[in-house]
Symmetry: C2
Subunit: 220 residues, 2 copies
DNA sequence: ACTTCTTTAGGTGTTTTACTGAATCCTCTA
DNA sequence: TAGAGGATTCAGTAAAACACCTAAAGAAGT
């Protein structure tokens, strides 16, 4: 059987070298590519010249999910294995939804990584124990009411609230938002209060982060 | 001559494995320790059982400088090599000041890392080209004025300002920040104002985004 | 018709921001 | 060694934003 062709994506070149070296003595595995971004890899990866792509993610960025989705679409034969340094359910689910077939965390080791690569090449999914624990806990929470309601609310911002949130997260002041939407400053305050209550946020700082996480605004 | 004993500090175990593997075929180098934090290493490192400690840092945290300083004090014979995933002049200078004898960035590769380890063991300092370029540009900045001053300001947040920014961007209120840093709320306000003036930010929303962009805090 | 949610907005008191000034400490340099 | 300059500390004052509450008009569904 041919060697398993593995491509790496890690924004830090040293880490690419490290993983490459980590897998160098596994005779069935061959590293065929290293890229700093998923976008780069998509361009480099002609003719599906890889069985497995390991994408290393350091910070939870919703955009990564889109990029992985794009990667899966452009190269359907490639199996994507995410190695995330964070353990945020929401993000991990996003990656799975985007088409990632496996997920490891920083708790992983060489053997698990090799096992994951083999498993993915053979057409099966592979999730680290730390991940499956998360997923299990998430399912068990599913029957819960409070938790479910919270998650529900998280998606049910009204149109107006979205507009206010968007402008606020773009550094508009309350007065500017009020003028632009032809409403009172007090109404803007109300909307912001309601947003925070709905999503269960403590401060406006959290509101900014929420907007960034959900791609309502850019980080720039 | 004895092998060079190298200890690793990386909060992500996989990365420790990766670097260990990366250096495994260098016959003169032997990895003797792996820790997730500098604090852990200090406790594990009896009798200066290492010539070089590689500390991998992902986000710019002033506390890391203090920990490295402590490490240098407790184990004077150990040479500290920092591998930072960021390139913020201010922080790099802090690490050097704290006693780090070398500094690499994510742009580094195996050969450079090996060279750095050898150099440090021999009692000399080693800074990656990307770092020396930063330092050079920093010195040359004296000539230009307006344009260069902006870039200057953008990277010259003081330690205290960094601490305040970090806590603020982690959703702490001014009062909480004040209590934690044992200063007045008015002082916290001053620091926040100074940060915004230095980096030329309009609102606190921009400040949150700045912190996220520069990996000072995460998005969640 | 009734409930529920959205959108609107005000009251009141607290917190944060904008802008300014200023004292103390540390470091670097002439 | 004295002075310049930045870092760190704190305060006064007016404006803005926030927390917590109430509440009315309208739209949508049961």
């Amino acid at each position: 059987m041919d060697k398993i062709k593995v491509a790496l994506v890690d924004e830090h070149p040293v880490m690419c070298d490290g993983i490459q070296s980590l897998l160098s003595d596994v005779i069935d595995i061959q590293i065929v590519h290293s890229s700093r971004t998923v976008t780069d890899l998509i361009q480099k990866l002609y003719f599906d010249w890889a069985n497995v792509v390991i994408v290393v993610l350091y910070t939870p960025d919703p955009e990564d999910a889109e990029l992985i989705s794009l990667l899966c679409k452009k190269h359907p034969k490639v199996q994507v294995l995410v190695l995330s340094m964070y353990r945020i359910e929401n993000m991990i689910f996003k990656m799975i939804k985007a088409g990632a077939k496996g997920h490891l965390t920083s708790e992983t080791n060489r053997d698990e990584m090799v096992e994951a690569i083999y498993t993915l090449r053979n057409g099966f999914d592979f999730y680290a124990k730390t991940i499956t624990n998360l997923i299990l806990r998430n399912y068990l929470n599913g029957s819960d009411e409070a938790a479910e309601a919270r998650r529900e609310r998280e998606k049910s911002l009204s149109t107006r609230e979205m507009e206010v949130l968007k402008l606020f997260a773009r550094s508009y002041t309350n007065k500017e938002i009020a003028d632009r939407l032809f409403i009172s400053v007090r109404t803007v305050e109300s909307h912001k209060n309601n947003i925070m209550r709905k999503i269960n946020l403590k401060t406006t700082v959290d509101m900014v982060k929420f907007a960034i996480r959900n791609n309502i605004v850019d980080v720039y």
